[in-house]
């Protein structure tokens, strides 16, 4: 077990390094740099001075080595567009994304597994087919479209929820603890709902298939034969075994969830990682773009690592070999 964890951590570091290198090349080789923006008042001499100051005039190889060395020390560079170190910009944005994605993950796995159970318990009935159709429908929705439609429906046509930002940008600082908490929740509803609906559909489709795979196995027949009622069979025997592959789904769903979060954050002005990445790209703020890609990758790698270890912990068959 210890060796296994060690090997996986080494692998994770290698993956991060490869992605970092790839991203560095693709991003730095692109035309332009953070100081190429259109501003007549900035003279070429000033631009050249800035480029020299931040090291953009050095050869790409030197820049890469410097960046990597700083990265190893935990220094992600300085964000020109945010006027603060990249680390500070991330420190503000990352918790917001984790909070949003955490809520969506918990809600969608609970709802998705529940929906799949509903379908399998009532296999072949009209209601089960309807549930499947609804899951397929939400699975087919573009994330940004659902976000826009929910925004239009619940913030404009029937304005019961705020349209954007994690909190009320003007009043939140003046609120008492309880109203501030409510304010936070109200701002969370629409972005979290969008992400949850999309992810629930994916989880439900996956879980249903896993349940159906377990259903014809011998031990299920044994459980029925010894007189357990169908609810107990499904809960105690089918679900417990069908949940094991769902652990890996958590790791595999993370990239899609992160992609969805980019659009959701942009549309609801939720100032997390996705929002930060898009605004950094617009400003050609290379260190910040690189950091965003890297943190996104690290989240996925870490998620997969946790899922992988949890898988081994949950399935005794894998501990022997």
């Amino acid at each position: 077990m210890g060796r296994r964890i060690g090997a996986r951590i080494v692998q994770a570091v290698v993956v991060l390094w490869v992605v970092a290198t790839l991203a560095f090349i693709l991003i730095h080789a692109a035309p332009g740099d953070p100081f190429g923006y259109d501003a007549p008042s900035v003279t070429p001499a000033v631009r050249a001075h800035w480029r020299h100051l931040y090291g953009y005039d050095r050869p790409l190889g030197t820049q890469y080595v410097l960046w990597l060395r700083n990265l190893a020390r935990g220094d992600l560079g300085y964000s020109v567009s945010m006027h603060e170190p990249v680390r500070d910009a991330l420190a503000n944005a990352l918790p917001r994304t984790l909070y949003l994605m955490g809520v969506a993950v918990v809600a969608s796995f609970a709802l998705g597994i529940g929906l799949a159970l509903f379908q399998v318990r009532r296999l072949g009935t009209r209601r089960a087919r309807w549930a499947g159709a609804v899951a397929l429908f939400f699975y087919s929705l573009p994330d940004f479209w659902l976000a826009l439609v929910l925004l239009l429906a619940f913030a404009y046509w029937w304005p019961i929820l705020p349209a954007g930002y994690p909190v009320d940008m003007v009043m939140h600082g003046y609120m008492a603890p309880w109203p501030a908490f409510v304010d936070r929740l109200r701002h969370l509803v629409l972005p979290a709902l969008t992400l949850t609906l999309l992810t629930t559909a994916a989880v439900a489709r996956f879980q249903r298939q896993e349940l159906l795979d377990v259903l014809p196995l011998d031990f299920v027949r044994t459980a029925r034969a010894k007189g357990l009622d169908e609810r107990a069979v499904i809960r105690r025997h089918v679900l417990r075994n069908a949940l094991i592959p769902t652990i890996t789904l958590f790791g595999l769903a993370l990239p899609a969830l992160l992609g969805g979060a980019v659009f959701v954050e942009k549309i609801y002005a939720w100032q997390g990682m996705g929002w930060l990445a898009i605004s950094a790209i617009g400003m050609r703020d290379y260190p910040l773009v690189l950091a965003a890609v890297l943190v996104g990758t690290a989240m996925v790698v870490l998620g997969n690592l946790v899922a992988d270890l949890a898988y081994v912990a949950a399935d005794p068959r894998l501990r022997v070999g």
């Binding site: 992605v19 087919s140 994330d143 298939q209 592959p245 595999l252 992609g259 898009i278 890609v293």
Partner: protein, 298 residues
């Protein structure tokens, strides 16, 4: 496709559910409508009919889906947008399916250390947040030609198909007819071409159908951010980008392109699900994009 393949396809069609046939019909209608856009469209593509009097009109008989703020007919733009959205998605998936099938077949048939290394590479590639990376690269290199967009989407989407094919190839390796072919002196290249590839076609078609749906959404999202296709081309996602900032006052310019995307993607996913049930009842557990690695742990 061999005669056997045609026969299999015919039998598969006969076993499709009514819903799946309806989905195939929807796809056919959208494909035909896009192909015949120059003849079906009531206006010329990109035509600004009368920007003073006919901008942002709600749906009417003259403009079934209304007009956008530049007085362009939304129905016409959806017809032409279908060309862009559907062809980009199809081509990108063809790229993904080709690369993924070859990679997976080689890894699975070779087995051993080659397989292990090739699969570790896939594990690593799957950790890259695809959307974030695509946004960064496309935005910084903007404007990107359509061919490059297709390649970028295609080359970041073959990992699942490769895994799928690899699992199949690994199983096929030990089957009697493959062993027999090997005993008769067939080389690896011939076995992969004649025996492995034809037998993994079914799962690849299923994964491809589902992937087309995903890529339509992905391209729409990128174009929505203004970094997918560029003027004068217009995909369904780009129509969004043109219209979002006024979608409260002119909802039709947002809802109808969105409905076109949803209908098409729903059709592809329905068809993919049904094909999976028909083509390979037990070979493709779960959704291709969310498939767990089959016990690489053991």
């Amino acid at each position: 496709m061999s005669a056997d393949g045609v026969d299999r396809a015919r039998r598969a069609w006969a076993r499709l559910s009514p819903g799946a046939r309806a989905a195939a019909g929807v796809i056919a209608v959208f494909a035909l409508a896009s192909l015949l856009a120059p003849w079906l469209a009531p206006y010329r593509v990109g035509q600004q009919i009368d920007i003073v009097h006919l901008a942002s009109l709600p749906p009417s008989w003259a403009h079934p889906f209304g007009t956008d703020r530049y007085s362009r007919d939304v129905f016409t733009r959806i017809l032409y947008g279908g060309r862009v959205s559907l062809s980009i998605a199809t081509l990108a998936v063809v790229v993904s399916a080709t690369v993924g099938t070859l990679y997976g077949a080689v890894a699975g048939y070779a087995g051993g250390a080659v397989d292990t290394v090739m699969m570790r590479v896939i594990d690593a590639l799957l950790s890259v947040p695809r959307v974030l990376m695509l946004i960064a690269v496309l935005a910084l290199w903007s404007p990107v030609p359509v061919a490059a967009l297709v390649l970028l989407i295609g080359l970041t989407g073959w990992f699942d198909i490769a895994r799928l094919v690899r699992a199949q190839a690994l199983a096929l390796r030990e089957r009697e007819f493959v062993v027999a072919a090997r005993a008769l002196g067939a080389g690896p290249a011939r076995i992969v071409r004649r025996h492995v590839l034809p037998n993994v076609l079914g799962p690849v078609i299923v994964a491809g159908a589902l992937a087309v749906g995903n890529v339509i959404v992905l391209e729409a999202g990128l174009s929505f951010l203004g970094i997918g296709v560029h003027e004068p081309l217009a995909s369904w996602g780009m129509m969004f980008q043109d219209a979002t900032d006024q979608f409260v006052s002119a909802w039709w310019a947002v809802i109808f392109p969105g409905a076109a995307i949803v209908a098409t993607v729903l059709a592809f996913n329905t068809l993919g699900d049904a094909l999976r049930d028909v083509l390979d009842p037990r070979q493709l557990p779960g959704h291709a994009a969310l498939e767990p690695p089959e016990t690489a742990h053991g």
